[in-house]
Symmetry: D3
Subunit: 139 residues, 6 copies
């Protein structure tokens, strides 16, 4: 069993504001991220796949196939978008990077097993800035 | 004469759309950056100061003084902001990173000489992503 | 359950010399790090927190709260310090980065549960240079 | 127990082509990596060692000893080499980075326990480019 | 006048061997890079364009147009190639990164002025590894 | 004419304190860098050489020769050292990175022309942290 991690990038904007809290609470919790007009980041997405190495091909999964899948399920929906207004998943959900990583993982799981067979989705990591990294991991 | 380069970061969003062009022209020129709701980046700003090394202090400029100046003139106006709506310089100007670097340099020049005397502002660089860097340089 | 990793930096100096070994043994084991007057590094500290995402706030922990805690318990005691002479933990302990990561984790655990409730301290990593990384992890 | 990760670099070339597949299949699976004359990468190898911190030395393993071992078992055989023609392990094995990480781990395990006693080889990671990382991990 | 720097990547292999020198001289001058079967690198190419910012578009050049030009003139000829055998420019020229940067600049200059008008090609930089950078600059 | 930049690393400690100023002035100017016992950094040194590409060898200078020169003139005197106490150049000079870059350049110039002939020393850059870069450049 080996793990392959593949790295993708996208740029997006968001505003952190929870309807369940008062303006003061929002401002205290989210700080500058609560600014009314939003701001943005260069996100880095890492997808880790775990599985046996195929004896003929020497691969865990085909890289081209993985790239096409991640592009179709995730990147095209987030890249150069305003997450609050362009991504339906965030209609009722604050687009913190915690929630973003949950949403990205859910989207990647949808057709995973029919696409990649025995190779499992092992971890999803989303880096918001060099200081903030969020990870969902199978264990 | 030596050059000191100091690096700052800010996160902001923008939308590229020029009122002087048709929708088709905007879409062709700016591609995904023309998306109606905007998107964002982690910007890196590098400020280069050129001057003699002070014999007593061993410094070209005081780092703390430079940081306070850049924070006051630039960072606080751009960090965690939507440039199209939060920054008045972009009311009639498309917030491309070319224009952003011109605006940043203009803001830094305003009180430069009264603040830093013989040390000159040598170059301003703004990195939008790891693939895009814009520079204004004195020569 | 998700994991949030937050990255901090500090610069410090140290000298590696064990009172339990001869000068020759020290020199052989620690090499240039045994130099009598010490040397220094830009350390990178990564703190990983594991917990459920709060449904209202979309956060595992408040970032501002975490930053203040790490600053108070660790950074202010190590940043711009000589670990052998400024940090009491190293009076009888060689400040290798292995020991530094043990000490940092111990300091972070002290008031962790009273400060962060159900969110657990999952991993502590200290990077000494780009070639050397030390990790303490819960599993 | 702590984990020490040490990072090494080597530059090598390879061509991905499997004798078990037709030319069309090779071209479809490996894409540009199937180019007849090969191409190359700057590889990064990370070796993670897990063990108790020695009370006298403050180390998990001697860094100099680890470096000499990795150099002798791995680096000198791969650095500035063409893996298809210079490395005997790849006579019948496609030098994908999956297989490369399996081979590197096998070579590191060979004399590990006689060299490092209670400190175990915890993980081996090979990065081919900033977008591709392969890991073998003990758990 | 501003400068835009755009960054591209390609992976290629090469062998350094000069027909004008003896085997001993080749080995002494090029070291491991003289290995008979070659080795490879992840190259980074930076292209710097200098010009006025267009008042309407806010751009020095169209990014999409620049990318297509660099892809057509350079990247497709070098990416995933063996420079000694796949790139005709190196039939009689040792593919050192000095020569590579000269060749890349020559290829970029060919149709530059008919493609980009008043925006000039200001600098070409090729990074072979993090330790080696080569630059051709107009001044 | 092309420019070759080669990158070196060293780790060292220093304390910023000027005998020409009062304790208060020292503390205000140097901030935490004035801490009595010093602190340290992982420094990055970049050396840029400018010259014609030799037609036979395809090189500006021999890389091995340059490395040996920089090691002998600079690295061995600074790596794993306390600059205030181990490096005689700083007996009467505050080891700011401005002064460090001046000293490094002076040391590199000493035997430069007898060692490298027509290839000139074009620039010396010293990076103290990712936020601070100092450069001496010929122009």
């Amino acid at each position: 069993m080996t793990r392959l991690t593949r790295r993708y990038k996208f740029s997006a904007s968001h505003r952190l504001h929870s309807a369940a809290m008062s303006d003061e609470e929002n401002s205290e919790l989210y700080g500058k991220c609560n600014n009314p007009f939003g701001h943005g980041h260069n996100y880095v997405l890492e997808v880790t796949v775990r599985g046996p190495v195929n004896a003929e091909s020497g691969r865990v999964v085909g890289i081209g196939k993985l790239d096409a899948y991640v592009e179709r399920e995730v990147i095209r929906h987030f890249d150069h978008k305003d997450m609050n207004r362009d991504v339906p998943d965030f209609v009722d959900l604050v687009p913190t990077t915690e929630n973003l990583s949950v949403i990205v993982e859910k989207r990647l799981r949808r057709d995973w097993s029919s696409s990649f067979g025995t190779a499992s989705l092992d971890a999803v990591r989303v880096q918001e800035t060099k200081r903030n990294l969020f990870e969902l991991r199978d264990l």
